[in-house]
Symmetry: C2
Subunit: 251 residues, 2 copies
DNA sequence: CGTTCTTTTGACGAGAGTCAAGACTGGTGG
DNA sequence: CCACCAGTCTTGACTCTCGTCAAAAGAACG
Protein backbone atom coordinates (compact mmCIF):
# COMPACT_ATOMS: atom_id res chain seq x y z
CA UNK A 1 0.00 0.00 0.00
CA UNK A 2 2.99 2.32 -0.25
CA UNK A 3 4.48 2.22 -3.71
CA UNK A 4 5.70 5.73 -3.15
CA UNK A 5 8.70 5.71 -5.47
CA UNK A 6 7.37 6.95 -8.81
CA UNK A 7 4.88 9.54 -7.49
CA UNK A 8 7.49 11.18 -5.28
CA UNK A 9 9.82 11.38 -8.23
CA UNK A 10 7.09 13.29 -10.06
CA UNK A 11 6.75 15.62 -7.10
CA UNK A 12 10.49 16.18 -6.94
CA UNK A 13 10.58 16.97 -10.64
CA UNK A 14 7.89 19.62 -10.18
CA UNK A 15 9.80 21.20 -7.31
CA UNK A 16 12.91 21.29 -9.47
CA UNK A 17 11.07 23.28 -12.14
CA UNK A 18 11.16 26.22 -9.75
CA UNK A 19 13.66 25.57 -6.99
CA UNK A 20 17.17 24.25 -6.71
CA UNK A 21 17.04 20.99 -4.79
CA UNK A 22 20.43 19.41 -4.10
CA UNK A 23 21.13 15.69 -4.15
CA UNK A 24 20.84 15.33 -0.40
CA UNK A 25 17.48 17.11 -0.29
CA UNK A 26 16.30 15.13 -3.29
CA UNK A 27 17.07 11.85 -1.56
CA UNK A 28 15.21 13.03 1.53
CA UNK A 29 12.13 13.80 -0.53
CA UNK A 30 12.23 10.50 -2.37
CA UNK A 31 12.45 8.61 0.90
CA UNK A 32 9.13 9.97 2.12
CA UNK A 33 6.54 7.32 2.88
CA UNK A 34 2.83 7.61 2.36
CA UNK A 35 -0.35 5.70 2.03
CA UNK A 36 -1.80 5.36 -1.46
CA UNK A 37 -5.58 5.80 -1.63
CA UNK A 38 -7.95 5.42 -4.55
CA UNK A 39 -10.80 7.92 -4.80
CA UNK A 40 -13.73 7.48 -7.19
CA UNK A 41 -14.91 10.39 -9.32
CA UNK A 42 -16.86 13.18 -7.62
CA UNK A 43 -15.93 12.10 -4.14
CA UNK A 44 -14.57 14.58 -1.60
CA UNK A 45 -11.61 13.31 0.39
CA UNK A 46 -10.98 16.46 2.42
CA UNK A 47 -13.94 18.38 3.75
CA UNK A 48 -14.24 22.09 4.52
CA UNK A 49 -12.90 22.90 7.96
CA UNK A 50 -11.59 19.40 8.54
CA UNK A 51 -8.29 19.23 10.38
CA UNK A 52 -5.84 17.14 8.40
CA UNK A 53 -2.54 15.60 9.50
CA UNK A 54 -1.26 14.77 6.04
CA UNK A 55 -0.80 16.37 2.64
CA UNK A 56 -2.23 14.72 -0.49
CA UNK A 57 0.04 14.10 -3.43
CA UNK A 58 -1.90 13.51 -6.62
CA UNK A 59 -0.54 10.37 -8.25
CA UNK A 60 -3.04 9.90 -11.02
CA UNK A 61 -6.32 11.51 -12.00
CA UNK A 62 -7.48 15.05 -11.24
CA UNK A 63 -8.32 16.92 -8.05
CA UNK A 64 -10.28 20.15 -7.53
CA UNK A 65 -10.49 22.56 -4.59
CA UNK A 66 -14.18 23.32 -4.12
CA UNK A 67 -16.33 25.94 -2.47
CA UNK A 68 -20.06 26.28 -2.55
CA UNK A 69 -22.49 29.13 -2.07
CA UNK A 70 -25.67 29.12 -0.04
CA UNK A 71 -27.85 28.57 -3.12
CA UNK A 72 -25.87 25.49 -4.03
CA UNK A 73 -23.63 27.08 -6.63
CA UNK A 74 -20.24 25.40 -6.83
CA UNK A 75 -16.93 27.05 -7.62
CA UNK A 76 -13.64 25.27 -8.25
CA UNK A 77 -10.78 27.45 -7.05
CA UNK A 78 -7.89 25.32 -8.28
CA UNK A 79 -7.14 21.99 -9.89
CA UNK A 80 -4.23 19.65 -9.22
CA UNK A 81 -2.56 17.37 -11.74
CA UNK A 82 -0.47 14.27 -11.03
CA UNK A 83 2.73 15.34 -9.27
CA UNK A 84 1.04 18.26 -7.48
CA UNK A 85 0.79 18.27 -3.73
CA UNK A 86 -2.85 19.27 -3.45
CA UNK A 87 -2.66 20.80 0.01
CA UNK A 88 0.94 21.55 0.79
CA UNK A 89 -0.47 24.60 2.59
CA UNK A 90 -1.99 22.34 5.19
CA UNK A 91 1.47 21.87 6.72
CA UNK A 92 1.21 25.35 8.22
CA UNK A 93 -2.60 25.63 8.17
CA UNK A 94 -4.07 22.23 9.04
CA UNK A 95 -7.71 23.40 9.09
CA UNK A 96 -8.82 22.99 5.50
CA UNK A 97 -10.06 26.22 3.97
CA UNK A 98 -11.69 24.32 1.13
CA UNK A 99 -12.85 20.85 0.21
CA UNK A 100 -10.73 18.62 -2.00
CA UNK A 101 -12.61 16.44 -4.44
CA UNK A 102 -11.60 13.98 -7.12
CA UNK A 103 -12.91 15.11 -10.51
CA UNK A 104 -12.24 11.69 -11.98
CA UNK A 105 -11.04 8.37 -10.61
CA UNK A 106 -7.91 9.45 -8.78
CA UNK A 107 -5.06 8.00 -6.78
CA UNK A 108 -3.52 10.09 -4.04
CA UNK A 109 -0.62 9.50 -1.72
CA UNK A 110 -1.19 10.66 1.83
CA UNK A 111 2.06 12.06 3.17
CA UNK A 112 2.06 12.74 6.93
CA UNK A 113 2.69 16.31 8.05
CA UNK A 114 5.11 14.90 10.60
CA UNK A 115 7.42 13.61 7.84
CA UNK A 116 7.15 16.82 5.85
CA UNK A 117 7.93 18.94 8.90
CA UNK A 118 10.91 16.72 9.60
CA UNK A 119 12.07 17.56 6.09
CA UNK A 120 11.61 21.31 6.36
CA UNK A 121 13.28 21.33 9.79
CA UNK A 122 16.44 19.64 8.57
CA UNK A 123 16.55 21.17 5.09
CA UNK A 124 15.86 24.91 4.92
CA UNK A 125 16.15 24.62 1.13
CA UNK A 126 13.11 22.37 1.09
CA UNK A 127 11.20 24.71 3.39
CA UNK A 128 11.85 27.51 0.95
CA UNK A 129 10.89 25.34 -2.02
CA UNK A 130 7.58 24.53 -0.32
CA UNK A 131 6.97 28.19 0.38
CA UNK A 132 7.68 28.98 -3.26
CA UNK A 133 5.15 26.33 -4.31
CA UNK A 134 2.55 28.09 -2.17
CA UNK A 135 3.48 31.36 -3.84
CA UNK A 136 3.12 29.92 -7.33
CA UNK A 137 -0.26 28.45 -6.37
CA UNK A 138 -1.24 31.95 -5.25
CA UNK A 139 -0.10 33.38 -8.59
CA UNK A 140 -2.44 30.96 -10.32
CA UNK A 141 -5.27 32.06 -8.05
CA UNK A 142 -4.54 35.66 -9.03
CA UNK A 143 -4.70 34.75 -12.70
CA UNK A 144 -8.10 33.15 -12.08
CA UNK A 145 -9.31 36.31 -10.34
CA UNK A 146 -8.45 38.36 -13.41
CA UNK A 147 -10.09 35.75 -15.60
CA UNK A 148 -13.31 35.70 -13.59
CA UNK A 149 -13.46 39.40 -12.93
CA UNK A 150 -12.58 40.98 -16.22
CA UNK A 151 -12.73 38.61 -19.17
CA UNK A 152 -15.72 37.47 -21.21
CA UNK A 153 -16.64 33.82 -21.50
CA UNK A 154 -14.71 33.22 -24.72
CA UNK A 155 -11.43 34.72 -23.53
CA UNK A 156 -11.85 33.09 -20.15
CA UNK A 157 -12.29 29.63 -21.60
CA UNK A 158 -9.32 30.02 -23.91
CA UNK A 159 -7.18 31.17 -21.00
CA UNK A 160 -8.05 28.12 -18.92
CA UNK A 161 -7.22 25.76 -21.76
CA UNK A 162 -3.89 27.51 -22.19
CA UNK A 163 -3.14 27.08 -18.51
CA UNK A 164 -3.97 23.40 -18.65
CA UNK A 165 -1.83 22.96 -21.75
CA UNK A 166 1.15 24.64 -20.08
CA UNK A 167 0.77 22.72 -16.86
CA UNK A 168 0.60 19.42 -18.74
CA UNK A 169 3.89 20.39 -20.25
CA UNK A 170 3.20 21.47 -23.78
CA UNK A 171 2.45 24.95 -24.98
CA UNK A 172 2.76 24.36 -28.71
CA UNK A 173 0.86 23.27 -31.80
CA UNK A 174 -0.07 19.63 -31.69
CA UNK A 175 0.24 19.21 -27.93
CA UNK A 176 -2.39 16.79 -26.81
CA UNK A 177 -3.38 16.05 -23.23
CA UNK A 178 -5.90 14.15 -21.22
CA UNK A 179 -7.89 16.32 -18.81
CA UNK A 180 -10.65 14.26 -17.23
CA UNK A 181 -12.96 17.09 -16.11
CA UNK A 182 -16.53 17.24 -17.39
CA UNK A 183 -17.91 20.41 -18.95
CA UNK A 184 -19.76 20.93 -15.70
CA UNK A 185 -16.42 20.92 -13.88
CA UNK A 186 -14.99 23.37 -16.40
CA UNK A 187 -18.03 25.58 -15.83
CA UNK A 188 -17.36 25.50 -12.09
CA UNK A 189 -13.77 26.59 -12.74
CA UNK A 190 -14.83 29.37 -15.10
CA UNK A 191 -17.79 30.79 -13.19
CA UNK A 192 -20.07 29.92 -16.10
CA UNK A 193 -22.85 27.41 -16.72
CA UNK A 194 -22.17 24.08 -18.39
CA UNK A 195 -24.39 25.14 -21.29
CA UNK A 196 -22.32 28.22 -21.96
CA UNK A 197 -19.02 26.35 -21.64
CA UNK A 198 -20.32 23.97 -24.24
CA UNK A 199 -21.00 26.86 -26.60
CA UNK A 200 -17.52 28.29 -26.03
CA UNK A 201 -15.82 24.94 -26.66
CA UNK A 202 -17.91 24.48 -29.80
CA UNK A 203 -16.69 27.88 -30.92
CA UNK A 204 -13.05 27.01 -30.27
CA UNK A 205 -13.49 23.78 -32.19
CA UNK A 206 -15.26 25.17 -35.24
CA UNK A 207 -12.68 27.96 -35.44
CA UNK A 208 -9.85 25.45 -35.51
CA UNK A 209 -8.15 26.39 -32.23
CA UNK A 210 -8.47 23.02 -30.58
CA UNK A 211 -9.73 19.50 -31.14
CA UNK A 212 -11.66 17.70 -28.42
CA UNK A 213 -12.56 14.05 -28.25
CA UNK A 214 -13.79 12.53 -25.05
CA UNK A 215 -11.64 14.03 -22.33
CA UNK A 216 -8.64 14.54 -24.62
CA UNK A 217 -7.73 17.99 -25.90
CA UNK A 218 -5.37 18.82 -28.73
CA UNK A 219 -3.96 22.29 -29.31
CA UNK A 220 -4.09 23.08 -33.03
CA UNK A 221 -2.98 26.72 -33.07
CA UNK A 222 -1.20 27.61 -29.86
CA UNK A 223 -0.21 31.16 -30.76
CA UNK A 224 -3.73 32.06 -31.82
CA UNK A 225 -5.27 30.43 -28.75
CA UNK A 226 -2.86 32.18 -26.38
CA UNK A 227 -3.63 35.49 -28.03
CA UNK A 228 -7.37 34.88 -27.82
CA UNK A 229 -7.06 33.94 -24.14
CA UNK A 230 -4.70 36.82 -23.33
CA UNK A 231 -2.42 34.14 -21.95
CA UNK A 232 1.10 34.86 -20.74
CA UNK A 233 2.67 31.80 -19.10
CA UNK A 234 5.18 33.74 -17.00
CA UNK A 235 3.13 33.36 -13.84
CA UNK A 236 3.32 29.58 -13.95
CA UNK A 237 7.11 29.68 -13.69
CA UNK A 238 7.54 26.49 -15.61
CA UNK A 239 10.47 27.81 -17.60
CA UNK A 240 13.72 27.64 -15.65
CA UNK A 241 14.58 30.84 -13.76
CA UNK A 242 11.03 31.96 -14.56
CA UNK A 243 12.53 34.35 -17.05
CA UNK A 244 13.12 33.22 -20.59
CA UNK A 245 10.47 30.69 -21.43
CA UNK A 246 11.21 28.86 -24.62
CA UNK A 247 8.87 25.94 -24.11
CA UNK A 248 6.01 28.22 -23.18
CA UNK A 249 6.47 31.24 -25.35
CA UNK A 250 3.84 33.53 -26.75
CA UNK A 251 4.13 36.01 -29.61
CA UNK B 1 14.32 58.49 6.75
CA UNK B 2 13.92 55.34 8.82
CA UNK B 3 11.36 55.82 11.55
CA UNK B 4 10.73 52.08 11.40
CA UNK B 5 9.64 51.48 14.97
CA UNK B 6 5.87 51.90 14.95
CA UNK B 7 5.17 50.32 11.53
CA UNK B 8 7.18 47.22 12.38
CA UNK B 9 5.26 46.89 15.61
CA UNK B 10 2.08 46.86 13.53
CA UNK B 11 3.56 44.15 11.31
CA UNK B 12 4.60 42.09 14.32
CA UNK B 13 1.11 42.38 15.78
CA UNK B 14 -0.38 41.03 12.54
CA UNK B 15 2.01 38.10 12.53
CA UNK B 16 1.05 37.33 16.11
CA UNK B 17 -2.61 37.08 15.15
CA UNK B 18 -1.74 33.83 13.39
CA UNK B 19 1.67 32.63 14.52
CA UNK B 20 3.51 32.25 17.77
CA UNK B 21 6.47 34.61 17.74
CA UNK B 22 8.72 34.41 20.78
CA UNK B 23 10.40 37.39 22.41
CA UNK B 24 13.70 36.79 20.64
CA UNK B 25 12.05 36.59 17.23
CA UNK B 26 9.92 39.60 18.05
CA UNK B 27 13.00 41.67 18.83
CA UNK B 28 14.61 40.58 15.58
CA UNK B 29 11.59 41.73 13.60
CA UNK B 30 11.40 45.07 15.38
CA UNK B 31 15.05 45.73 14.67
CA UNK B 32 14.54 45.58 10.91
CA UNK B 33 15.49 48.74 9.08
CA UNK B 34 13.82 50.15 6.02
CA UNK B 35 13.34 53.21 3.95
CA UNK B 36 10.04 55.06 4.28
CA UNK B 37 8.57 56.26 0.99
CA UNK B 38 5.49 58.36 0.31
CA UNK B 39 3.40 57.40 -2.71
CA UNK B 40 0.65 59.63 -4.10
CA UNK B 41 -2.75 58.17 -4.97
CA UNK B 42 -3.04 56.07 -8.13
CA UNK B 43 0.70 55.69 -8.56
CA UNK B 44 2.27 52.28 -9.13
CA UNK B 45 5.42 51.64 -7.11
CA UNK B 46 6.06 48.07 -8.29
CA UNK B 47 5.53 47.25 -11.93
CA UNK B 48 4.56 43.94 -13.52
CA UNK B 49 7.60 41.75 -14.08
CA UNK B 50 9.93 44.10 -12.26
CA UNK B 51 12.57 42.40 -10.14
CA UNK B 52 12.48 43.75 -6.61
CA UNK B 53 15.05 43.45 -3.82
CA UNK B 54 12.79 44.60 -1.02
CA UNK B 55 9.36 43.95 0.41
CA UNK B 56 6.91 46.81 0.96
CA UNK B 57 5.32 47.22 4.36
CA UNK B 58 2.23 49.40 4.23
CA UNK B 59 2.54 52.03 6.94
CA UNK B 60 -0.42 54.22 6.11
CA UNK B 61 -2.93 54.41 3.27
CA UNK B 62 -4.08 51.61 1.00
CA UNK B 63 -2.35 49.44 -1.61
CA UNK B 64 -3.80 47.29 -4.39
CA UNK B 65 -2.34 44.47 -6.49
CA UNK B 66 -3.36 45.20 -10.07
CA UNK B 67 -3.67 43.36 -13.34
CA UNK B 68 -5.02 44.62 -16.61
CA UNK B 69 -6.51 43.00 -19.67
CA UNK B 70 -5.72 43.77 -23.26
CA UNK B 71 -8.79 45.99 -23.68
CA UNK B 72 -7.71 48.11 -20.74
CA UNK B 73 -9.93 46.49 -18.13
CA UNK B 74 -8.38 46.60 -14.67
CA UNK B 75 -8.74 44.04 -11.92
CA UNK B 76 -7.55 44.41 -8.34
CA UNK B 77 -6.55 41.02 -6.98
CA UNK B 78 -5.87 42.03 -3.39
CA UNK B 79 -5.65 45.04 -1.15
CA UNK B 80 -3.24 45.72 1.68
CA UNK B 81 -3.95 47.72 4.82
CA UNK B 82 -1.45 49.34 7.15
CA UNK B 83 0.60 46.64 8.87
CA UNK B 84 0.41 44.29 5.86
CA UNK B 85 3.57 43.36 4.02
CA UNK B 86 2.29 43.90 0.50
CA UNK B 87 4.69 41.56 -1.25
CA UNK B 88 6.16 39.22 1.30
CA UNK B 89 6.03 36.65 -1.50
CA UNK B 90 8.75 38.54 -3.33
CA UNK B 91 11.29 37.12 -0.88
CA UNK B 92 11.08 33.78 -2.68
CA UNK B 93 9.78 35.11 -6.03
CA UNK B 94 11.46 38.44 -6.75
CA UNK B 95 9.95 38.88 -10.21
CA UNK B 96 6.68 40.68 -9.52
CA UNK B 97 3.66 38.79 -10.79
CA UNK B 98 1.50 41.89 -10.49
CA UNK B 99 1.78 45.63 -10.13
CA UNK B 100 1.43 47.30 -6.75
CA UNK B 101 -0.33 50.62 -6.73
CA UNK B 102 -1.33 53.10 -4.05
CA UNK B 103 -5.11 53.57 -4.03
CA UNK B 104 -4.76 56.67 -1.90
CA UNK B 105 -1.85 58.70 -0.56
CA UNK B 106 0.22 55.99 1.07
CA UNK B 107 3.40 55.55 3.06
CA UNK B 108 5.35 52.35 2.64
CA UNK B 109 8.47 51.04 4.31
CA UNK B 110 10.88 49.29 1.97
CA UNK B 111 12.43 46.38 3.81
CA UNK B 112 15.39 44.76 2.01
CA UNK B 113 15.08 41.10 1.11
CA UNK B 114 18.58 40.63 2.47
CA UNK B 115 17.45 41.56 5.99
CA UNK B 116 14.33 39.41 5.76
CA UNK B 117 16.30 36.42 4.53
CA UNK B 118 18.73 36.93 7.39
CA UNK B 119 15.72 36.68 9.69
CA UNK B 120 14.27 33.53 8.15
CA UNK B 121 17.70 31.90 8.12
CA UNK B 122 18.32 32.41 11.83
CA UNK B 123 14.73 32.00 12.99
CA UNK B 124 12.85 29.06 11.50
CA UNK B 125 9.79 30.22 13.43
CA UNK B 126 9.76 33.44 11.44
CA UNK B 127 10.20 31.55 8.19
CA UNK B 128 7.14 29.52 9.05
CA UNK B 129 5.19 32.61 10.08
CA UNK B 130 5.99 34.20 6.71
CA UNK B 131 4.92 31.06 4.90
CA UNK B 132 1.66 31.08 6.85
CA UNK B 133 1.09 34.71 5.85
CA UNK B 134 1.42 33.65 2.22
CA UNK B 135 -1.08 30.88 2.85
CA UNK B 136 -3.62 33.24 4.42
CA UNK B 137 -3.18 35.64 1.50
CA UNK B 138 -3.95 32.70 -0.77
CA UNK B 139 -7.08 31.89 1.26
CA UNK B 140 -8.28 35.44 0.66
CA UNK B 141 -7.64 35.02 -3.06
CA UNK B 142 -9.74 31.84 -2.98
CA UNK B 143 -12.57 33.70 -1.30
CA UNK B 144 -12.42 36.30 -4.03
CA UNK B 145 -12.58 33.60 -6.70
CA UNK B 146 -15.80 32.29 -5.19
CA UNK B 147 -17.11 35.82 -4.94
CA UNK B 148 -16.33 36.63 -8.57
CA UNK B 149 -17.31 33.30 -9.99
CA UNK B 150 -20.55 32.46 -8.26
CA UNK B 151 -22.14 35.38 -6.46
CA UNK B 152 -24.34 38.13 -7.83
CA UNK B 153 -23.39 41.79 -7.51
CA UNK B 154 -25.33 42.38 -4.31
CA UNK B 155 -23.92 39.42 -2.41
CA UNK B 156 -20.48 40.08 -3.79
CA UNK B 157 -20.43 43.68 -2.62
CA UNK B 158 -21.68 42.77 0.85
CA UNK B 159 -19.00 40.09 1.12
CA UNK B 160 -16.22 42.53 0.30
CA UNK B 161 -17.44 45.03 2.87
CA UNK B 162 -17.52 42.25 5.46
CA UNK B 163 -13.95 41.31 4.61
CA UNK B 164 -12.80 44.90 4.97
CA UNK B 165 -14.65 45.25 8.26
CA UNK B 166 -13.00 42.11 9.64
CA UNK B 167 -9.56 43.09 8.45
CA UNK B 168 -9.86 46.53 9.99
CA UNK B 169 -10.56 44.75 13.22
CA UNK B 170 -14.24 45.07 13.87
CA UNK B 171 -16.95 42.68 12.80
CA UNK B 172 -19.81 44.05 14.84
CA UNK B 173 -22.59 46.61 14.82
CA UNK B 174 -21.30 50.13 14.94
CA UNK B 175 -17.80 49.36 13.71
CA UNK B 176 -16.63 52.25 11.61
CA UNK B 177 -13.55 52.31 9.42
CA UNK B 178 -11.79 54.46 6.89
CA UNK B 179 -11.23 52.71 3.56
CA UNK B 180 -9.87 55.20 1.06
CA UNK B 181 -10.77 53.39 -2.17
CA UNK B 182 -13.02 55.06 -4.75
CA UNK B 183 -16.08 53.28 -6.10
CA UNK B 184 -14.05 52.68 -9.24
CA UNK B 185 -11.47 50.85 -7.14
CA UNK B 186 -14.22 48.82 -5.49
CA UNK B 187 -15.55 47.98 -8.94
CA UNK B 188 -12.08 46.75 -9.95
CA UNK B 189 -12.02 44.52 -6.88
CA UNK B 190 -15.51 43.19 -7.53
CA UNK B 191 -15.33 42.62 -11.27
CA UNK B 192 -18.19 45.10 -11.75
CA UNK B 193 -18.53 48.58 -13.19
CA UNK B 194 -18.39 51.66 -11.00
CA UNK B 195 -21.99 52.41 -11.96
CA UNK B 196 -23.19 49.07 -10.70
CA UNK B 197 -21.16 49.29 -7.49
CA UNK B 198 -22.82 52.61 -6.86
CA UNK B 199 -26.23 51.00 -7.21
CA UNK B 200 -25.28 48.19 -4.82
CA UNK B 201 -23.94 50.60 -2.19
CA UNK B 202 -27.06 52.69 -2.53
CA UNK B 203 -29.07 49.55 -1.91
CA UNK B 204 -27.04 48.64 1.19
CA UNK B 205 -27.51 52.15 2.49
CA UNK B 206 -31.23 52.48 1.90
CA UNK B 207 -31.78 49.06 3.47
CA UNK B 208 -29.94 50.11 6.60
CA UNK B 209 -26.98 47.71 6.39
CA UNK B 210 -24.28 50.35 6.33
CA UNK B 211 -23.71 54.08 6.43
CA UNK B 212 -21.20 55.69 4.08
CA UNK B 213 -19.84 59.19 4.22
CA UNK B 214 -16.82 60.13 2.22
CA UNK B 215 -14.46 57.20 2.49
CA UNK B 216 -15.71 56.16 5.88
CA UNK B 217 -17.96 53.15 6.30
CA UNK B 218 -20.03 52.22 9.32
CA UNK B 219 -21.53 48.80 9.85
CA UNK B 220 -25.07 49.15 11.12
CA UNK B 221 -26.28 45.54 11.11
CA UNK B 222 -23.33 43.16 11.03
CA UNK B 223 -25.27 39.91 11.31
CA UNK B 224 -27.61 40.84 8.50
CA UNK B 225 -24.77 42.06 6.31
CA UNK B 226 -22.72 38.91 6.86
CA UNK B 227 -25.74 36.78 6.02
CA UNK B 228 -26.43 38.78 2.88
CA UNK B 229 -22.78 38.48 1.81
CA UNK B 230 -22.56 34.79 2.73
CA UNK B 231 -19.59 35.81 4.80
CA UNK B 232 -17.77 33.43 7.12
CA UNK B 233 -14.63 35.00 8.59
CA UNK B 234 -12.86 31.71 9.33
CA UNK B 235 -10.62 32.00 6.29
CA UNK B 236 -9.09 35.25 7.53
CA UNK B 237 -7.76 33.54 10.65
CA UNK B 238 -7.97 36.67 12.71
CA UNK B 239 -9.37 34.88 15.73
CA UNK B 240 -6.72 33.13 17.81
CA UNK B 241 -6.13 29.51 16.89
CA UNK B 242 -8.29 30.17 13.85
CA UNK B 243 -10.99 28.19 15.56
CA UNK B 244 -13.42 29.92 17.84
CA UNK B 245 -13.97 33.43 16.60
CA UNK B 246 -15.82 35.56 19.07
CA UNK B 247 -14.88 38.95 17.68
CA UNK B 248 -15.79 37.84 14.19
CA UNK B 249 -18.73 35.58 14.64
CA UNK B 250 -21.63 35.00 12.33
CA UNK B 251 -25.04 33.60 13.13
C1' DC C 1 -13.07 79.82 -7.21
C1' DG C 2 -12.54 77.20 -11.11
C1' DT C 3 -11.06 72.54 -12.51
C1' DT C 4 -10.92 67.77 -12.17
C1' DC C 5 -12.27 63.69 -10.05
C1' DT C 6 -16.01 61.27 -8.00
C1' DT C 7 -20.76 60.02 -7.22
C1' DT C 8 -25.44 59.58 -8.70
C1' DT C 9 -29.38 58.62 -11.78
C1' DG C 10 -31.86 57.04 -16.02
C1' DA C 11 -32.66 54.62 -20.44
C1' DC C 12 -31.23 51.10 -23.30
C1' DG C 13 -28.60 46.93 -24.99
C1' DA C 14 -25.92 42.69 -24.81
C1' DG C 15 -23.80 38.66 -22.82
C1' DA C 16 -24.67 34.94 -20.13
C1' DG C 17 -28.30 32.27 -17.49
C1' DT C 18 -32.41 29.31 -17.54
C1' DC C 19 -35.37 25.87 -19.15
C1' DA C 20 -36.16 22.08 -21.91
C1' DA C 21 -35.60 18.36 -25.06
C1' DG C 22 -32.99 15.28 -27.73
C1' DA C 23 -28.47 12.90 -29.07
C1' DC C 24 -24.50 10.76 -27.66
C1' DT C 25 -21.28 8.01 -24.66
C1' DG C 26 -19.33 4.71 -21.76
C1' DG C 27 -19.92 1.44 -18.29
C1' DT C 28 -22.69 -2.55 -16.45
C1' DG C 29 -25.05 -6.65 -16.44
C1' DG C 30 -27.67 -10.13 -18.72
C1' DC D 1 -21.54 -9.63 -27.32
C1' DC D 2 -25.26 -6.86 -27.09
C1' DA D 3 -28.69 -3.92 -24.70
C1' DC D 4 -29.66 -0.93 -21.37
C1' DC D 5 -29.08 3.17 -18.48
C1' DA D 6 -27.18 7.09 -16.22
C1' DG D 7 -24.39 10.57 -17.03
C1' DT D 8 -22.77 13.76 -20.45
C1' DC D 9 -23.03 16.73 -24.36
C1' DT D 10 -25.53 19.59 -27.69
C1' DT D 11 -28.91 22.83 -29.42
C1' DG D 12 -32.66 26.32 -29.43
C1' DA D 13 -35.80 29.84 -27.45
C1' DC D 14 -36.54 33.03 -23.99
C1' DT D 15 -35.18 35.92 -19.73
C1' DC D 16 -32.60 38.81 -16.80
C1' DT D 17 -28.58 40.74 -14.63
C1' DC D 18 -25.25 43.75 -15.41
C1' DG D 19 -22.77 46.79 -18.87
C1' DT D 20 -22.89 50.94 -21.72
C1' DC D 21 -23.73 55.57 -22.69
C1' DA D 22 -24.80 59.97 -21.15
C1' DA D 23 -25.53 63.89 -18.34
C1' DA D 24 -25.72 66.35 -14.17
C1' DA D 25 -24.76 67.12 -9.36
C1' DG D 26 -21.47 66.95 -5.70
C1' DA D 27 -16.78 66.84 -3.51
C1' DA D 28 -11.83 67.65 -3.37
C1' DC D 29 -7.82 70.15 -4.58
C1' DG D 30 -4.79 73.63 -5.87
Amino acid sequence: MDISEAPLQLFLNKLRLRSTINADEGRAILSLLGQAVRIPANRAFVRLGERVDHANLVVEGLVGRFAETREGGRQIMAFHLPGDMANLNSIVAPAAGAALEALAATTILRVPHASLRELTRHHPGIAEAFWLESVVDAAILEAWIVNLGRRDAMTRTAHLICEIACRTGGARDGHSFHFPATQLHLADMLGLTAVHVNRMLANLRTNGFIRVSGRRFEILRWQALAKLGEFDPAYLRVGRAANDDDTCKVA
